[in-house]
């Protein structure tokens, strides 16, 4: 029995808030069909910060959008289930989905410059969001909430009547978060939120994320190609490659002892100050053309530990004993290993 759509989640921390089950997203392009997201299974726990990493084009942004059901043609969610707080999102009508967006699911975008309407004042952005979802709120009450929110996010309240172009990048990102929080969303998906920010502002932003998570009871999915950012702030990390899940583990597990060969390669490639003149590690090969993905495991052409079965069958993504999931035949039972 599903709760009314807008009611906040009653889960305890640690319970599964959002479960993606074998989700695929396909794009029809001029050159053929592209599986931007290919059979991804993932669960997001309430109260955690989940990092979603991978190189450009691996499908993490698409996955983020899919979680809000914001894939538009020529893309389509072709299979799988999206269960958010017990609600199967794919069975909802668009109008019902709209109710969820903003109220319970929020998104912060990469480029703060272009994500705000240049013609609207900041206060109007926030009050509009509030009053779209909570019709009965008066203009004055909405404005009050907006002011509180802005203040909480570290911006001067007097500036609430200004236009977006009058703020700096870092401030604009805070405004974006404010918008996501205006209605006490349960889950916020932050798509490369710090890529456009400089390092100092980025650090402040990440601190802010942590605070907000504690204070507002947020669950955050942090999409980034920057491993350092994720290492600092995430509780668990999911690694994607070529539209598929490669590894999902606790942050310490992953960074100290990555299992999936791709993840291992990624971490070896991070420049280390102790290298002291030794050559930088570079993974062999290039990411595959998604129009014609390799047979079996998508990473096998580049894998230093490749086996025969890797080019024949695709590995599963099952739970291992130590609590992590890896999509690799090295960690999965199969006939060859037995030989």
């Amino acid at each position: 029995m599903t709760a009314p759509l807008t009611q906040g989640s009653t889960l305890r921390p640690g319970g599964t808030l959002y479960s993606l089950d074998d989700v695929s997203v396909r794009y029809a392009t001029r050159e053929g069909h592209v599986a931007a997201v290919d059979s991804v299974t993932l669960d997001i726990r309430k109260g955690e910060i989940l990092g979603l990493v991978g190189e450009s084009g691996c499908g993490k942004s698409t996955l983020g959008k899919a979680m809000l059901r914001m894939i538009s043609p020529p893309g389509k969610i072709t299979s799988g289930r999206l269960i958010f707080d017990g609600i199967d999102l794919l069975t909802l009508k668009e109008s019902e989905m709209r109710v969820l967006r903003g109220a319970r699911l929020g998104m912060v975008f990469q480029d703060p410059m272009t994500s705000l309407n240049p013609l609207e004042r900041i206060v109007d952005h926030i009050t509009e969001t509030i009053r779209t979802h909570e019709r009965r709120v008066s203009a004055a009450a909405a404005r009050d909430r907006a002011e509180q929110l802005i203040g909480r996010l570290g911006l001067r309240v007097e500036r609430i009547d200004d236009y977006p172009h009058q703020f700096s990048g870092g401030m604009r990102q805070r405004i974006m978060i404010a918008l996501a929080l205006a209605l006490r969303a349960d889950l916020v998906i932050a798509d490369e939120p710090t890529t456009a920010l400089d390092v100092i502002v980025e650090a402040q932003f990440l601190d802010l994320l942590r605070e907000l998570r504690d204070e507002f009871d947020l669950t955050i999915v942090l999409i980034s190609h920057n491993l350092g950012v994720v290492a600092e702030v995430a509780d668990r990390v999911a690694v994607m490659y070529a539209g598929r899940m490669a590894e999902l583990a606790e942050v310490n597990q992953l960074f100290l002892e990555p299992h999936h060969p791709y993840a291992r390669g990624l971490l070896r490639a991070v420049p280390n100050i102790e290298l002291d003149g030794a050559k930088l590690y570079q993974m062999e090969g290039v990411p595959p053309d998604l129009r014609h993905p390799p047979a079996g495991c998508a990473f096998h052409p580049r894998c230093p530990d490749v086996m025969a079965i890797c080019s024949q069958r695709r590995p599963g993504f099952d739970l291992l004993d130590d609590g992590r999931c890896v999509a690799c035949w090295l960690y999965e039972d199969h006939e060859e290993a037995a030989k």
């Binding site: 709209r98 903003g102 929020g106 994500s115 013609l119 779209t132 172009h165």
Partner: protein, 365 residues
């Protein structure tokens, strides 16, 4: 009261009041912009009027022969040249021309009763206004509404249909459209009158002050005159408005499509803002900004179209006056009318720029 003064009061006064209101309410940047822009109008008028001067006096072509015909006697030629000031050096001519235009001393017509041109224009200006204003309103409303619809339903049949409509309507010569409408509605169906601004009989009952028939008939509560005036106005305004609506449709469509792809629209949808709200208050408002800048240029099309429409429907406005005066080789009148058109363009361009600056908070000067 002189028609031009009247026109200024009707249109100019509210405009000045609006300007003052914006001025006091707006921020510093806006005020500076408005001042600069108003100040820029003067040089703009000078340049436009100079273009007219260059075209009419400097370009090759014998004005005198055009006026008198090739068989003019020497004495006649000399008299005309003196009267038009063509015998003086070019610079002096230019100076005199500028002075004349700015003091609104537009000279006298060569034809018939040799009335002051400014009077003749003054009589006809309201007619032209009563044509272009309804046409512009129709074009704006239809064009923007349909353009938005086309943008939202992109690549679907109604989009293509609307684009075909706008392209077809734009490709039609205005005078042909006018003639066709006349053929169908006046000749075949007999729904609208064939020409003129108002029924001849009703005309005698109407007391004219502004010479804007709609205004005058309302002022005197002469409802039959109002009805007749509107009845006569329908076809000409529709003709002009239809062609222009095609232009606005295309403009709006392209700009709304581009705006709909902007990030802030996606971000708004991610917050659950309704699609209709997103289309109209986010996309359309933003799309209107580039459209407004182009509206100023559409005025040029409007005026050009007015000339043709007035000729087809025998509408006694400035456009038809221009054409008649050319046929009767009344050089002075031609020169003055074109100069007045130039003034028009400058003023409307000013108005549009001010509106634009009010709409877009990013404008800084």
């Amino acid at each position: 009261m002189h028609p031009f003064v009247l026109m200024f009061m009707i249109f100019g006064l509210p405009a000045v009041i609006a300007l003052a209101w914006v001025f006091t309410r707006g921020g510093d940047a806006l005020r500076r912009y408005i001042v600069t822009r108003v100040a820029l109008t003067l040089p703009m008028v000078v340049i436009l009027v100079s273009v007219v001067f260059v075209v009419l006096r400097v370009m090759p072509g014998d004005v005198v022969s055009s006026t008198l015909g090739p068989k003019a006697t020497d004495i006649a030629r000399e008299t005309i040249m003196e009267e038009l000031g063509l015998d003086r050096p070019l610079i002096v001519q230019y100076g005199t021309f500028l002075r004349d235009v700015f003091t609104l001393d537009l000279g006298n017509s060569f034809v018939g009763a040799r009335r002051p041109i400014i009077d003749e224009l003054g009589e006809r200006l309201p007619a032209t206004l009563e044509l272009i204003i309804p046409a512009a309103l129709f074009a704006l409303i239809t064009g923007i509404y349909l353009g938005t619809r086309a943008a939202v339903r992109r690549k679907r049949p109604s989009d293509y249909g609307l684009r075909m409509y706008s392209v077809i309507v734009y490709s039609m010569p205005i005078f042909w459209l006018g003639l066709l409408l006349r053929l169908v509605f006046s000749v075949w169906l007999d729904w609208t009158p064939i020409a003129g601004r108002i029924d001849v009989v009703t005309n005698t009952t109407l007391e004219r002050t502004t010479n804007l028939l709609v205004v005058d008939s309302i002022l005197t509560a002469n409802w039959s005159a109002l009805g007749s005036a509107l009845h006569h106005m329908v076809l000409p305004a529709l003709t002009l408005g239809l062609v222009l609506s095609g232009v606005f449709l295309r403009l709006t469509r392209i700009n709304v499509i581009e705006t709909l792809q902007e990030d802030y629209v996606v971000a708004a949808r991610a917050r659950g803002i309704r699609k209709r709200a997103v289309t109209y208050s986010y996309a359309l408002k933003n799309a209107m900004i580039p459209v407004v800048t182009v509206i100023g240029l559409q005025v040029a099309i409007l005026l050009a179209g007015a000339v043709l429409t007035e000729t087809v429907f025998n509408w006694p406005g400035m456009g038809r006056y221009l054409v008649q005066r050319i046929s009767s080789r009344d050089f002075q009148a031609v020169q003055s009318t074109v100069a007045v058109f130039a003034l028009f363009v400058a003023l409307i361009s000013l108005a549009v720029d001010v509106v634009y600056s009010v709409l877009d908070p990013r404008v800084k000067y």
